[in-house]
């Protein structure tokens, strides 16, 4: 199944009603980024996580609607469509990395910056939940000026990785340790 993402007429601006609608989706609101960040910074972690997961569930649902059977979708297809939907939200460009058995997703050029990384992770967890029906934890591996990397792991692996990252283990070594210990 190779269905290319087509963003044509994805957004519909109804000036008479003053509404912005996304195709095959509910109404959208365009808000300033700093206002969103201010809201996230003022809310607790669970509220932000829930907020983000709700955004991701919406993106996963749209992708599933386009793909039909997302569980059979390839790496590229998921990346293309899920990345397209997140781009329409204005959260940045989605990337996919495979480090052995580990799945690393990344965001580039996110307008929210480092303060929105927790929100972005939550968006990815909601999209995986909605699209693939798996509960995942997005562990932030690294952050630079342009890109932020998230390791998509289960709860056990996420705890270990979090600990190693907290110990200062480079994110490469964390991946290696997860792969080695997982293999062993």
């Amino acid at each position: 199944m190779s269905l290319n993402f087509d963003p044509s007429y994805a957004l519909e601006f109804d000036f008479g009603r003053g509404q912005i609608r996304m195709a095959n989706a509910s109404a959208r609101v365009i808000i300033p980024c700093d206002a969103l960040l201010a809201l996230c910074q003022g809310a607790n972690e669970e509220a932000v996580r829930d907020f983000g997961r709700r955004l991701g569930t919406e993106a996963g649902r749209v992708m599933n609607d386009r793909l039909g059977e997302a569980w059979q979708a390839s790496l590229e297809t998921v990346l293309e469509h899920l990345g397209g939907e997140l781009a329409l939200m204005g959260l940045g460009s989605l990337g996919l990395e495979r480090w052995g058995q580990a799945l690393v997703l990344s965001f580039s050029h996110s307008p929210l910056g480092a303060a929105g990384d927790f929100l972005l992770g939550s968006v990815l967890e909601g999209a995986m939940q909605r699209s693939f029906g798996r509960d995942t934890v997005a562990i932030k591996l690294m952050r630079d000026d342009q890109k932020v990397r998230f390791l998509m792991a289960g709860y056990a692996g996420a705890r270990k990785a979090g600990n190693w990252l907290a110990e200062g283990v480079p994110w490469g070594d964390v991946l290696s340790r997860l792969a080695t210990r997982g293999a062993s």
Binding site: A73, A102, F132, G154, A156, L178, G182
Partner: protein
Amino acid sequence: MNQEVNKLQELLARVKRNAALPRTLVSGRAPEPLAPVYEPPAAAFSPPAYIPPPSEISADEVFFDSEAPPPPSVPTAIPPAQVAQAAIDASVDELLLEDPFPSVPPGPSYSDVLEDPMPVAATGAPRQLDHEEDVSGVMSISEFSDEQPEELLEDDIVEMTATEAAAIPMVQNSLDELSFADVDLDDKQAAAPSEEEPPVSSSRSKVAGTMDEALARAAEQIELEEGREVPLKTPPPESGPQAAVMPQGMHAPLAPDIEELLEADILPSTGVRAAVPTAEQVGQTVDLDEARGPSLELDHAAASSTEELEEEAVASEELEVTLPGREFGGGYQADLMPPPEARQDLDAHRQREEAIPPPPESLAQYPSPAEAQPSAFAPVIVPSSVTTDSYSESVSTVTVDAPPNAEFAPELLARPEIGPSPVAKFIRAEAQRPKTFMELLDSSLSLGSD
């Protein structure tokens, strides 16, 4: 001499000037004898008053000169008929004796002359004509004008003694006597030389009184004539060419003898004439420097006998030296020594050449062969190839191949050859790529799980 010439010139000028002036007849002849129609003058004629010379003035006149002048005498007028009659009586000869070609028109009439305000001294005295005026018959008009009378020259002054003055008859105050006094005057002049004596200041030689005196004067004259040269008289043109007489002690230069001159040139050291230059040659002698360079010598065997001497004498005339041919036209003899001035120039030229540094040699050129010294460190053979390796445009490196026969050629060390063997081993790890995103996601969720 110059004074005499000046006097003559002045006299000539005066004669010319007087000739240009109008002439008036003192005599009773008609002024214009050739005029076809005679018109008598309207006014009466009276001759000008005569001023007697000082010698003719008597003592009474001198003493009573301060008295009032006598009343002017009425001039005697000549009736027109009388004047016309006088002109008719004039003979043809007398007319011809006068100037047949008067250059000037006739002078003023006598009436004009009478109106001349010139004062007349002693008009009442009888007019005594000078003998010169009577001879020439010309009276200068300057006497009737305001101009100053001309000064008389020495030649014009005639000294008269008292007896001579007394011999001159008193001139009557009548025109008849004045006009016909020529004959008497001629007689008087003919008798005058016999009576007059040379003045003291005259340079004329006096007649010797005695025979001795005449002989002495003749002797002095001969001595004076012997002391001076006889001036050459210019021969008249019709006399033809004359042979000039050369003065004694002088002679024309003799023509040079060509043969003698040739002998002097050929054999300058032989003969007395060649050794002693002539007077003409002394001033034109130029001292020549001695010849530089090798001298030309003619070798011939010494004659031993008379026959050989004779043969040699004949052969010496035929002895010739072959001049250098055309092939030596542009060459020179290598062993010739340069002259001293040329040597100085040559040294200066060499110094200038040494002072000029050689031009810079480009890195891309070979070293000049002239500077290559025979040394062990220098390449013996010109390198066969030159390569230029340049890593930048501004730096160029020249690599010259070392000659193979150089003594201190660089030692070339080569790395030992090593056989081909694997340096590194890459192990390709083949990981199963998940076909679906769900597989990768499940594998990633399994990480870290015990």
